[in-house]
Subunit: 191 residues, 2 copies
Amino acid sequence: MQALIDHFKQILPLDDDELALLDGRVNARKIKRKQMILQEGFVCKHYTFVVEGCFKMYGVDDKGYEHNIQFAAEGDWIADIGSFHSKKPSKLFIEAIEPAEILQIEIKDLYFLYNNIAKLNRIFKVIIENKFVELQNRVLQNFSSTAEQRYLSFLEQYPNLANRLPNTQIASYLGITPEFLSKIRKDLMKK
Amino acid sequence: MQALIDHFKQILPLDDDELALLDGRVNARKIKRKQMILQEGFVCKHYTFVVEGCFKMYGVDDKGYEHNIQFAAEGDWIADIGSFHSKKPSKLFIEAIEPAEILQIEIKDLYFLYNNIAKLNRIFKVIIENKFVELQNRVLQNFSSTAEQRYLSFLEQYPNLANRLPNTQIASYLGITPEFLSKIRKDLMKK
DNA sequence: CATTACCCTTAATCTACCTTAAGCCTATTT
DNA sequence: AAATAGGCTTAAGGTAGATTAAGGGTAATG
């Protein structure tokens, strides 16, 4: 819980009254490796804050291949925002890559908090702005560079993730096959 | 100005006191075709609401090619959110594809409004959530389908944009060359 | 501790999409 | 009305990355 308070404090500190309201609206859970906290076809019921561990969010195409659209490690939020607010079934999966500890807020609790802690509207606005910018940079990168350049800038931007994740997951994030990532890595070694 | 009030009303209506605060913090401008309201290297100073006309937002790669990352027509917001908040130089351009009428809010005014109209935090949170979802869908589409599928779903998702935009701009948005789009269109005609 | 599942790599063949170049047509600008 | 720029298309040849298949290594699970 302290991890979440610290996270909010970095954007806008909450006072004691506000923190009291938070308590009881947030649920702590432990998640096993490979456990899913969201599956395609189900409505996304929670905003999830990662205290410990690492998740991937992905879609599955017609041929059954997975495509990672984001990772979330310590201090990140993860949710299918579209499904969450529209209450429509998600097209995405969220799955733990490592054993994890998370904090979850349900939609009714989040709306309660938005109505009773004005600051939280601002805090979540900032959180989503940051996620938006990150995603937009990704879109730009994706079509203005080769797979090798994308791999290099992934390493640069997420050095700690790069160590923790298997290359298959990174390949899926970069939009290439593991085989081709393997070739890229080999070519980079030579240089 | 009425266009903006209506736009906010769809999310959360503002009362008269709040509308009074808005007035004077929003500037109306007319923009010519091809005029830029943001250029690479400059800080993005405004959130821009499109009343009439159409804009493209794009980056330029090492080879000088443009890559459209979004369009904005009537009722859309457009800004380089990253540059706007960080006050760092943008890597993007925003340019009018058609003559346009816009409403702009400067950063100091937007922050004033966030502090004095609590609802606006919520309104802009929702606006950015929607943009985030749209962008996320795009990322998913981009690597789980061929250029032809992407073109078809662009036509489906933005039928009015598809009529208004030249194919060169659509190709740039889809991440393909105009030549290849031409081929796709030819192949589709046959079917 | 064994065994299964997953991960990483190499290499050959194949395809979606790019590049270049050229020609025509329709808008803008002068 | 002329001039020019921009937009659309065709086609030939080229490349980044996919696919398939196969072998060896390492980590998770019972």
